[in-house]
Amino acid sequence: MTEVRTGGLVDSPPVDRSAVLEALGTVRDPELDEPLPDLGFVSALEVEGDTVRVHLRLPTYFCAPNFAYLMVADAEEAVRAVPGVGQAEVVLDDHFTAEEINSGIAQRRGFQQSFDGLADDELDELRALFRRKALINRQQRLVKALLDAGATIAELGRLRLGDLPPSPELDAYIQRRAELGLDVGPGAPLVVDTDGNPIPPELLERHLRFARLTRVSIEGNAGFCRGMLATRYDLPAPTASGAAALGDEQVRR
């Protein structure tokens, strides 16, 4: 009895291009908290047999290398997990550290080794810091909608996660809370600090002020990055969702 197989190739399901795109859609710019395809950072996607090649691009030649590295690494991991993918090649173009990042990812060297002598650790702490910023941003989106609908600050302080109707914004907020290891049960308070602690009533207003500031910062950066990318690659001017949230859609001609 002999088992005849041809290296498993004949049995491989073809790679579904839309599944790859979907996987890339789960990868976010850690700083801007938005999916790479929405930001225009995915410039090419090629499927050949069980090999997938993805090209990424960024708004400037000098975008921070640590965030750039995280995006390439996360994209590579997401693509590799798509059923049928044998090899995932994710390449960053037009960046001052493209060589270090691309070879580092291809050889699975990690950040510190990819930037020999220039880093003293991996990027976990950086990622966690920006997850906390994103948590505050996502919380602010929910809270702003409630305030606009007439809720008072005191009422916000009493709300629990389970009190809110389902919405994509709520899902996004809960997801980030879960990633940070914070309580996501229906009885958990809605407004918390980045450690998951409820905000005492007398500190609520200033917490919300700072949350607004954080949102202005993150969404403003995202809008600027879109604009710079469009200028750099001669793309149509962005109709940024970030700009809409900030109000520039309404004031634009």
Binding site: L126, N221, F224, T231, L246, D248
Partner: protein
Amino acid sequence: MYEKDGERYFVVDGHTHFWDASEENTKNKYGEGFIRCFYDYHRNLSPEEYVWPLEKYRKYDEPTMMRDLFEDGYVDVAIFQPTYLTDFYHKGFNTTEQDAVLKDKYPDKFVLNTSFEPRLGEAGLEQFEAKVAKYGSKGVKLYTAEWHDTSKGWKLTDPWALKYLSKCEELGVTNIHVHKGPTIWPLNRDSFDLADVDDAASTFPELNFIVEHVGLPRLEDMCWIGTQEPNVYGGLAVAMPFIHTRPAYFGQIVGELLYWLGEDRLLFASDYAIWHPKWLVEKFVDYQYPMQNEYPELTANVKRKILGLNAARLYALEVPEGLGVADEGTGPDVTGKPAIPVEASVGGHSE
């Protein structure tokens, strides 16, 4: 000086360059990448009629700069902020020496800031002292993402940086302009983080720390340290041009800064030649928040302070009769804002 609707404004451009990124001066791909990145900033945020061809942008001449700033651009005094980048450009991108040529010819038009390089240690300290003696600088521009040999950046809290800041205090170089960039050692940390400015501002209460580009992309860090340190200021270069393409976002930046820092700690700047001061001044004077908001009002007096009077105070510039503001301002802590709880700060200031 700019005049509109019976209001007059003394204009200090807090951030200008006289740079050379000509092909002959460009040393390597990093220098090429740097000027192209600058050019995209210029193209992305300028009104179309103000966009230059790349060749002109790489290196412009003295008559162009003098006309743009002082004839067309309403600027009374411009502050030079040198940016050396000697690892990218043979003779440097924009050195004190280059700027000094114009300062010598037009002494009343320019404030000549210089810079220091803490990674040069003791030798650099002497060079810095000599530069201050030669040029009489009252301010420095520091770019923490500047490369030097194998180093890709530094912090204001590095031991040598502290020695240089002590030297600034000793020499009366009181205005420390800090520009954060994308690289810093160690590279795994957030290079735009302003915690080191916070620490340095506490350590040197007699120095003024002007955070260039109001800390963008870390406006939240900027406002946070602004509430902690009364000697921290915001330079509005790079924030200003959003007034054209994204006026609501501009309003949010300025509104937040007015709320957290107050009207006495913000400095107008064009970042010339990235942007032309003419349209920035015109649009800023006309500006009203285009959206509903809870931010402090942007009155003519507030605009006067931002456009020139705040910088004039920091650099002891003489403001012509009748161009000041009626009131004396209310100091840094004007608005009676609630302080930010420590737990709400997510800017990485834990250590």
